[in-house]
């Protein structure tokens, strides 16, 4: 069952990398400006309420 050990190692490495990347990104404040897109979707670019021919 050596494959079990391999899998545990692989899983731990992957999960560890993920955790490290997460902590790193939070500490660096990388997501601080990730706000504007959530507001922008609330604004519609629609200019007319009437049905128009696309041509």
């Amino acid at each position: 069952m050596s494959v079990l050990i391999v899998l545990v190692i692989v899983s731990v490495i992957v999960a560890g990398c993920f955790l490290a990347a997460f902590i790193w990104s939070v500490r660096k404040g990388q997501y601080d400006d990730d706000y504007a897109p959530s507001v922008r979707i609330l604004f519609d670019d629609t200019v007319s309420t009437e049905d128009k021919n696309p041509n």
Partner: protein, 730 residues
């Protein structure tokens, strides 16, 4: 004015980063098509569910065989609600939101239309083939190979149109919902293709290339991810668009949505083995599945919390707005289902819950609550908008909300209770160490609960029909804005990375690297789990006495598959005393090496059949004949449909040669040239059974289908009891 303009420009240090303002039109016709399909298929799928629910209450009345038997209709219900109701719901919300998020019309109207009509054609094909018994028997992947190919083609068309639209978009940033759609497209494509690799025997019949334990792992890797990437990720995308829109507030935390997205897609792909705990699947694969299933609670709840907190400070709106009410119940149900999921993945809890109706209750919290209620909320929001009118009746919508919420409660509470009781009755011993309950006693115990569940379903369907009336009235009084005019600046110039920017921003702007990154993340998960199982032979110890099925048994097995017996009867004895006492020796991986497809099942409405031909469980041919003909005459209170038509239908032996050849191709060791002589063996074995039946006073010709089914049932489990030596492959 002139002066103001020039003053303004002098203040701007950099050249404008936006391009020329462009006018374009959103395609609302495709949204409307998918919306109408969602409403109609939703009602159809739920009515199907209602019918099969009451089949368990009134088995003799409602099982109008063979087409309307539980085993044939239950896959029709699951496929209809998953792929027809939720599927069309996904595409409805997707086509509405992605055009607005990318500030672009779909790349090709033609592809959108092919996608719509192709998807409906697949649904119709499913609705015809499943009642006819044309099935692969892999849950939620029952459709046979020609339909599998059609699904692949239509899915690629959907993805092609999506990526082409992403490439010509006017909004650089890909909003979180778009990522969810991308992940959905890629993962479902990979899952569907891998799980559908099969060898056709005829136009309507195929065998999967995987056998036994490997087939089970691939199937549940698919099965769980169908839940993850068809019922969850696209709906999270819809939640991230429509919930902020309906509440007119930005999502609580955009940061959380990014983390939640990556964590979710990475973890989900590993969770499949939790469907196979305590089975013959190698233990390491089970453990891996448990660990990742448990971790899933974090990203899942991240999504739920993000959804609910979007309404922070706006809960007063929920009081008045029926759309938000639907969405709140949906997100709450998502939270409950994703809390329960990791709990059910724990071995101790799974030992109790697995094979019981608890699982059915669990999926209906997700299905009725999360998918159903969110779809209803989106429909009520979207239909009046694209038809430029007010909702026909707010009162009816409120009525729908309350009756649907009540329906969910009436549905799930009795089933949780019943599932729990069912399990404990299976496991109960008397003080002297005997099993306390006959299996049949658990079946009759369940009936009142099935009836209350059916009532809950009735309430839920009633709500959906009221919604259909309300929305069709709304459509009738409005007029569709098929092409909605919008304006946005074009994207200009290549994006230059500015100092101190996070790497994630780069990938957010690039659909192709995002596509590749998502694919890699998903494939790592799948490959790590599956490749060792395929490659390392020691995972499946071979058992010398396990032999291929005889031609008659093989034909009988295919009828067992056709009739959907696996939907109520498992073939997997787990290593618990309560199971080994009831069914015999626990199942081993090596027993299933010739099983294309595996028939382990996922719930026990009827008893396990893995050892049906052995020990105390062995019955006479006459017993099987009478039981299949009229189950209630042998087992009073049984909910099994009657299979008397098997006595009249003649077994089609013209397929035997092709089936033997397909099995040989898959590595089943029939002697060379056996396909030519297989039918002689078949007739000989069938005659033997017919003679035995005649000796017991049953006159039936040996060429009937029932003979083959009896032969298969009598074979079950006998290989292992013949010789108990397990040989590890070196």
């Amino acid at each position: 004015m002139q002066l103001e303009q020039s003053t303004l420009t002098t203040h701007v240090a950099e050249p404008p980063v936006t391009g020329k303002r462009e006018t374009f039109f959103y395609d609302n016709a495709i949204v409307s098509n998918f919306a109408i399909a969602t409403i109609i298929w939703g009602v159809v799928g739920m009515l199907g569910g209602l019918y099969v629910a009451f089949e368990l209450v009134f088995p003799k009345v409602l099982n109008v065989g063979p087409w309307f038997n539980f085993g044939r209709l239950r896959p029709l219900h699951t496929n209809a609600v998953i792929f027809a109701f939720v599927g069309n719901g996904i595409f409805m919300g997707y086509y509405y939101s992605i055009q607005r998020l990318l500030k672009s019309r779909m790349w090709s109207d033609k592809l959108s239309k092919i996608h719509f009509w192709g998807w409906q054609a697949i649904i119709v094909a499913a609705a015809i083939t499943l009642p006819l018994g044309i099935t692969t028997s892999k849950e939620y992947a029952e459709l046979e190979w020609p339909i599998d190919i059609a699904i692949t083609v239509i899915w690629v068309i959907f993805g092609w149109n999506m990526f082409a639209t992403i490439l010509k978009r006017r909004e650089r940033h890909l909003y979180v919902a778009v990522w969810f759609y991308i992940a959905t497209f890629i993962t479902v494509a990979v899952l569907h293709v891998v799980n559908s690799i099969e060898i056709p025997v005829s136009f309507f019949k195929s065998y999967p290339v995987y056998a036994g334990v490997q087939d089970a792992l691939v199937q549940w890797w698919y099965g769980h991810n169908a839940v993850a990437f068809f019922l969850t990720t696209p709906y999270l995308g819809l939640m991230y668009y429509f919930m902020p829109k309906a509440a007119n507030r930005p999502v609580y935390s955009y940061k959380l949505s990014i983390i939640h997205f990556w964590a979710l897609i990475f973890l989900y792909i590993w969770a499949g083995p939790h469907h196979l705990l305590y089975t013959a699947l190698p233990n390491w694969a089970q453990s891996l599945g448990i660990v990742f299933s448990f971790m899933l609670i974090f990203p899942s709840w991240g999504g739920m919390i993000n959804g609910l907190l979007t309404l922070r400070g706006a809960w007063d709106k929920v009081r008045d707005d029926v759309i938000l009410k639907f969405m709140v119940v949906a997100v709450t149900a998502y939270g409950m289902a994703t809390f329960e999921g990791p709990m059910l993945s724990l071995k101790t809890i799974n030992a109790v819950s697995h094979f019981t109706d608890w699982t059915i209750a669990h999926v209906h919290v997700g299905g009725l609550g999360w998918n159903g209620m969110l779809t209803f909320g989106i429909l009520y929001w979207l239909i009046p908008r694209i038809f430029k009118t007010e909702l026909y009746s707010k009162k009816l919508a409120n009525f729908h909300f309350w009756i649907a919420t009540l329906g969910i409660l009436f549905w799930v509470i009795p089933m949780y209770w019943a599932g729990f009781m069912q399990s404990f009755m299976w496991k109960q011993f008397t003080p002297s160490g005997q099993l306390k309950y006959q299996f049949l006693e658990t079946v009759t115990f369940m009936k009142p609960f099935y009836a209350v569940r059916g009532f809950g379903g009735l309430l839920f369907v009633t709500g959906a029909i009221v919604m259909m009336y309300n929305l069709f009235k709304t459509i009738a009084k409005g007029k569709i804005v098929a092409n909605e005019q919008a304006e946005a600046p074009a994207l200009v110039g290549a994006y230059t990375r500015h100092k101190g920017e996070h790497w994630h921003r780069w990938i957010e702007r690039k659909p192709t690297p995002l596509f590749i990154a998502t694919l890699i993340v998903i494939l790592i998960g799948g490959a790590v789990e599956m490749i060792p199982t395929f490659m390392i032979k020691s995972n499946v110890p071979t058992i010398a006495s396990v032999k291929p099925y005889t031609p008659l048994e093989l034909q009988g097995r295919d009828i067992y598959v056709r009739e959907g017996c696996y939907l109520c009867h498992s073939q997997m004895v787990r290593p618990f005393r309560s199971e080994t006492e009831r069914y015999g020796e626990y199942s081993k991986a090596g027993e299933f090496i010739y099983d294309h497809p595996f028939q382990w099942g996922s719930k026990r409405t009827g008893p396990d059949l893995a050892r049906e031909g052995t020990g105390n469980l062995k019955k006479s041919n006459a017993w099987h004949f009478n039981h299949l003909d009229d189950p209630q005459s042998i087992s009073t209170g049984s909910v099994m449909p009657a299979y008397s038509f098997l006595i009249d239908d003649v077994l089609d032996t013209t397929t035997t040669a092709a089936k033997i050849r397909a099995m040989q191709k898959l590595g089943v060791p029939y002697p060379a040239g056996y396909d030519k002589t297989a039918n002689q063996d078949l007739v000989k074995q069938a005659d033997g059974i017919a003679v035995d039946l005649k000796a017991n006073g049953i006159k039936v010709k040996s060429d009937k289908e029932i003979i083959a089914v009896i032969a298969y049932l009598q074979r079950l489990g006998t290989d292992v009891t013949k010789n108990k030596v397990v040989v590890e492959n070196k």
